[in-house]
């Protein structure tokens, strides 16, 4: 996610660079850039992503409690976690929370992002305030909301007409609601930023043309802005989905998977198995499931949305 944040704002230089086609530079030098250029990134990625991933895969076929040497147990861990009702439920819970995140955050961040891309008065100030959650760590946000939602000393105690006895963390539906709400509160600004940038990049001529054709604000939004944001929507959704599948600290701090196992999502279950139960075999199997699930879902989104074709759709699209 950080790579998204650090991508530089468009500078005056950017358009000039874009106009020069990559093939030209190859032609000038006569050769393609050597493999050497890719080496640092490749090494880094292999060392910190591929190698541990392979090790996790190997460990998922072993039994290890952190003491002594791991022991090969074949598919034992896999059989165990696939028969485990808590594991099966954790997958559904993960999907539910991810879906809730996408459904809540996407419309909100599009609306706010498009608004923030405009030139209204006070917009900069309001946007700056609105982006504050983005600067807070997920841990701080979770601790904050845990305190704010305390049934005796927090908001629920003052708003009993809405919260009743305030047992938000004591029932499954409300606990899931809190998790979805806190994630939304925290991550919407990030996605808003994506949409703000994308909306700014829409050529104004499109709106001018639409205005001449007599399209109102709503028609402009649905017929120009939304279609033009398509690639950004896909990007943002992939980030939401992958982020949702690997959500961890929100659950750790807000609900600890409770009440009972009612909010034990897969990533948290992996932590419980591996680091509280010292069952690193089962923990690795769950981790691998998550990796596979996140990859498959991302691929589906990319394929279905046509994101992989990467056509420019800035101008001349209906």
């Amino acid at each position: 996610m950080t790579t998204q944040l650090t991508s530089a704002p468009p500078t005056a230089e950017a358009p000039r660079k874009a106009r020069r086609r990559p093939e030209d530079s190859y032609a000038a030098h006569g050769t393609r850039p050597g493999f050497l250029w890719a080496l640092p990134a490749t090494l880094f990625f292999t060392l910190f992503a591929i190698a541990p991933l392979i090790m996790v895969a190997v460990l998922s076929f072993m039994s290890w409690d952190g003491l002594g040497s791991p022991e090969f147990v074949g598919t034992d861990n896999w059989k165990r976690i696939l028969d485990d009702p808590v594991m099966i439920r954790s997958i559904w819970l993960t999907l539910l929370l991810t879906a809730l995140g996408v459904v809540l955050q996407t419309p909100l961040s599009i609306v706010i992002g498009v608004w923030a891309a405009g030139h209204q008065r006070n917009r900069a100030v309001l946007s700056a305030i609105y982006f504050i959650p983005l600067l807070l760590s997920a841990t701080a946000v979770s601790v904050l909301w845990r305190a704010l939602l305390d049934p005796n000393f927090g908001i629920p105690a003052r708003m009993t007409w809405l919260f009743g006895d305030g047992n938000l963390f004591g029932e499954q539906a409300s606990a899931i609601g809190v998790l979805a709400f806190v994630s939304t509160w925290q991550y919407t600004p990030f996605h808003t930023l994506i949409y703000q940038g994308a909306a700014r990049a829409i050529p104004p001529v499109l709106y001018q043309a639409a205005e001449i054709d007599g399209a109102g604000r709503f028609r402009q939004f649905f017929h120009i802005t939304l279609p033009q944001l398509r690639n950004s929507i896909v990007t943002s959704m992939i980030l939401m989905i992958v982020g949702g599948l690997t959500t961890f600290e929100t659950v750790l701090i807000l609900t600890q998977g409770g009440p009972g196992t009612d909010t034990t999502i897969s990533a948290y279950y992996m932590y419980q198995k591996a680091f509280k139960g010292f069952d690193f075999g089962a923990g690795s199997a769950i981790a691998l499931c998550l990796v596979i699930a996140a990859t498959v879902v991302s691929l589906i989104v990319v394929r279905v949305s046509g994101y992989d074709k990467m056509r420019s759709d800035m101008e001349g699209v209906s």
Binding site: P52, M55, G66, P151, F169, D262, G277
Partner: protein, 433 residues
């Protein structure tokens, strides 16, 4: 244990790293190498470290082999210990909670039984309260020397709230139920419970099982006799817990309340609740959070008796103490033995008392009046010294692997997600090895 090649270990290590990295967990182990000619003492990093530091300094004044104090801060202690204990970075001596926290290490053959030390210096057994000392005995051999303070679980109360509702500190179960009714009528939550943390809920189970069935039932279950959970006594204790919940003792939103964020102690301190069952650290917690209340309004007492119960009314539950255990592969066993002897020294007892800990040596009694809160320390010491049995908290008596499912089971029984049979099955499924 079939594969002893280097490769799987490397793989496993890497995968641990991968898991850790994927959780963005960070931090570095501070355990030193034991090849530097020193003994490394690894302890849980918190404010009590100043005493441990002082004892290490005292030791270093006379010993040829020097000791080094390493700390692992925060709640990750057990996790990090587990990952370094079988590596060359393992310490010589380490802090633990006795019972289930060291049992897996004993089974893996990593720890040194201390019976040889005790043979050479019987004080290493005799100078400690036996009920406490026993919780670090595994398979009949001692593996730990008590090294901090005891933390029995007590029934704390807000004296003003009790007085206003016309309630006296309950001595028996029926008086407690009566108090619950009166406090409820007075419009306060009778008993504050940090159910969101789950382990405070467990304390009610620990005491009621002990009072109803005696410490034997739990010992049987821990030993592998799963039928103990289905016994009549077990069901009676569960029935009493249900009775308490149904009487509205904990209010309705206890699962949203936490002890760890200061919410349940605040309920008691601000007069919104009458009682709270908690470890003895509650006293200093209230002194920090609500100074006036701690000085004037905070009451404390032993858990009520249960008429007709098989457990001795003097029994207590809680954290018996923390312990120092010794790695089998230490290169300086003599120096380690000398270091452990300091744990019954007068200097140690005084230093622990000065920071509010209550050491469990037989000599504590003569120094207890020098403690920061003499009356409270005296009460606790007498309670623990007279107890026929001191049951180590269940989640520490069982191996770590059992703690998550155990915590879930007690929470689910209390809030009705599990019925009696469901709870019994969940407890029977706990791993006890």
């Amino acid at each position: 244990m079939t594969m002893r090649t280097r490769m799987p270990r490397l793989v496993a290590g890497g995968a641990t790293l991968a898991l850790a990295a994927s959780l963005a967990a960070c931090g570095s182990g501070s355990g030193g190498s034991s090849n530097d000619g020193k003994i490394h003492v690894l302890v849980y990093g918190d404010s009590a470290n100043k005493v441990e530091k002082q004892i290490v300094d005292t030791f270093n004044k006379t010993s040829k082999v020097k000791a080094v104090l390493d700390t692992i801060p925060g709640a990750d202690y057990q996790q990090k210990l587990q990952t370094i204990i079988s590596t060359p970075q393992a310490p010589d001596i380490f802090f633990n909670w006795g019972g289930g926290s060291i049992k897996p290490f004993v089974k893996a053959g990593l720890l040194m039984p201390l019976d040889d030390f005790v043979k050479k210096d019987p004080n290493l057994d005799d100078k400690f309260l036996p009920t406490v000392y026993n919780s670090a005995v595994v398979d009949g051999k001692p593996y730990g020397i008590p090294m901090r303070g005891t933390q029995p679980v007590l029934l704390f109360s807000n004296k003003d709230v009790l007085a206003k509702a016309g309630v006296k500190q309950p001595q028996t179960w029926d008086q407690l139920l009566d108090a619950v009714r009166k406090l409820k009528d007075a419009g306060v939550t009778p008993i504050a419970l940090g159910g969101g943390d789950q382990w405070p809920t467990l304390m009610w189970f620990e005491y009621l099982y002990d009072r109803v069935a005696g410490p034997g039932l739990f010992q049987k279950a821990l030993g592998g006799d799963k039928d103990a959970w289905a016994s009549a006594d077990s069901k009676k204790a569960l029935g009493m817990i249900k009775e308490l919940v149904d009487a509205g003792a904990f209010g309705k939103n206890y699962d949203s309340v936490k002890y760890t964020n200061g919410s349940s102690p605040a309920l008691v301190a601000q007069g919104k609740a009458g009682f709270e069952l908690m470890g003895s650290w509650y006293y200093s917690q209230q002194q920090t959070d609500a100074k006036d209340f701690a000085a004037k309004g905070l009451g404390y007492a032993a858990f009520p008796t249960v008429p007709g119960g098989k457990g001795d009314p003097s029994n207590v539950v809680g954290n018996t103490n923390n312990f120092y255990s010794v790695l089998k592969k230490t290169k300086h066993p003599e120096a380690v033995a000398e270091f452990l002897k300091l744990m019954y020294s007068d200097e140690f007892v005084k230093a622990q008392l000065s920071i509010g800990n209550l050491p469990t040596t037989t000599t504590t009694s003569q120094f207890v009046d020098q403690s920061a809160s003499p009356e409270y320390s005296r009460f606790q010491y007498d309670l623990v010294a007279k107890a026929k049995s001191f049951q180590l908290s269940w989640d520490q008596a069982y191996p770590q692997t059992a703690s998550t499912p155990m915590h879930q089971a007690v929470q689910q029984f209390l809030n009705g997600q599990l019925d009696e049979d469901g709870f019994i099955k969940a407890m029977q499924a706990l791993p006890n090895e």
